[in-house]
Assembly symmetry: C2
């Protein structure tokens, strides 16, 4: 359970999140950054970024290393866990697969919003569609589940489901060796197409077959925002923000790719700064 | 007169302007930056800036030098002249004291808007209040003028007025040696308080006296936006912008301190990037 209430919880450790954390610490607030995958896997893949003023012609990897080092000098708390749910309140509660945290304000820097959802996915969130085995797996003890995964980082979740479920159909959307997942996990080829069901999920349709299941776990680097924070208002597949980067939920701010184009480092860094100054003002107003 | 039409004219060479110019050039557009005073005098004065991610703990001077060098590698045209008026049209026309330029789009990166205008100043713009001796001085040949100046950089303008006017009352709001301005320029102590007049300006009131004059020249590092581009809509003393940094005038964008707080390098750099990508899209749409 939460031991302390952070002033500011930042969900995502890319350029926007690092910029927000840096200025938040300089403004003397307690700051937690939640980033399970290493700082900005996306930027790290860029061979060359030449339009961030002051750092000419360097690789994405070097850029993010410099930004992370600069930010970490100011000692934010880095929590290498994925935030799977946020509950509004005073304070906010953040749920990860293994723990619970509290914060007075939230800054979402989750990257480009996941928009290519499966047909039927959104309708069945909470009625058979889930994103975190540690959180929701127990409900499927002795039952049949399918797991669609776009990342190898969540294979431990699949293994866990193998231990408690009757059948686990695993549809990895990446290449790898899956033998370590155990006998109970059946590797299924093909692409997922649609979530089928009535009151609850009844099957996952792929391009090859229909798998009868009770639950479907979907593992992406970022979950649909509808699942993370259900009341958040989106616009054109991005988080709707005001000029001060506040969202429709008081105390929740957003910055970087998740607020829409342009998907660029300089824009993300600038928004991270503006968002955290708005969050600082929000925290300070709470004290009055 | 203009020899070529720039795709993008950027008014101001601080972090926002340099960021816009950099990405504009990378996107293969012709770009002119108008900056008469050296890149960001304001940032250069900062002893330490520690919240621009990737460049930890450096002076404002070093930061702006690195940004300028990075930008200039990509060869924008730097025009060391002050833009005193912009006339909307297709293309836009930009007027400096000595020349005329044309551009398809405008990005305003003029810094914190000049808001502490003199009492009566705004009402008498064009009716005795002026900001550019080279442009408007001839109208006051043989007449009496007052010059209020907050910067030594415009003393050559004062000297010129001394050559053509009957009396020049000079109110420098900075310290210096003014003997080189010539006998016709009378140095007046005190602070300017109000512009007085009827149909036209009749006097400048200071905290000590009332100077009977036909015209008042006011020299600041940035002129009131009302004078630069009269139809521009402001809000809370900043340029009103949309999320894509467009203003109310099609083809005119704004970025950095002139769009409002926070007045910070990272915010300016991010907005410069977003504004120029919006300008690039605008230019590309013109071709269709």
């Amino acid at each position: 359970m939460a031991e302390k209430v952070f002033d500011i919880a930042i969900v995502g450790g890319g350029p926007a999140g690092l910029s927000a954390a840096l200025t938040g610490r300089i403004r003397n607030k307690t700051v937690a950054i939640f980033e399970p995958y290493g700082f900005s896997a996306k930027v790290q893949q860029a061979h060359l970024i030449d339009n961030y003023p002051g750092l000419p012609g360097i690789s994405g990897k070097e850029m993010i290393e410099r930004m992370a080092a600069h930010c970490l000098e100011h000692e934010p708390v880095v929590i290498k866990e994925k935030v799977v749910n946020i509950f509004p309140g005073d304070p906010f509660t953040l749920l990860t697969p293994g723990d619970t945290y509290e914060a007075k304000t939230i800054i979402l820097t989750t990257g480009v919003a996941t928009t290519a959802l499966l047909t039927g996915e959104k309708e069945y969130i909470g009625r058979g569609v889930a994103y975190c085995a540690t959180c929701d797996g127990r409900m499927y003890t002795g039952k049949d589940v399918a797991v669609v995964s776009y990342t190898a980082a969540e294979e431990h979740e699949v293994k866990f489901l193998g231990e408690i479920c009757r059948n686990v159909f695993y549809l990895p959307q990446y290449k790898g060796d899956f033998s370590h997942l155990g006998d109970k996990v059946r590797i299924i080829g093909g692409k997922p197409r649609a979530v089928l069901g009535a009151e609850q999920v009844t099957a996952l349709a792929t391009d090859k077959e229909e798998l009868k299941v009770d639950g479907i776990f979907i593992m992406r680097q970022s979950d649909p925002l509808e699942n993370l924070l259900p009341d958040l208002v989106l616009e054109n597949n991005a988080i709707r923000v005001n000029r001060d980067l506040s969202t429709n939920i008081p105390g929740v701010f957003a910055a970087g790719d998740c607020t829409g184009r342009p998907w660029q480092v300089a824009k993300a860094v600038g928004e991270g700064l503006t968002a955290v100054l708005s969050a600082v003002a929000y925290v300070d107003a709470l004290k009055k």
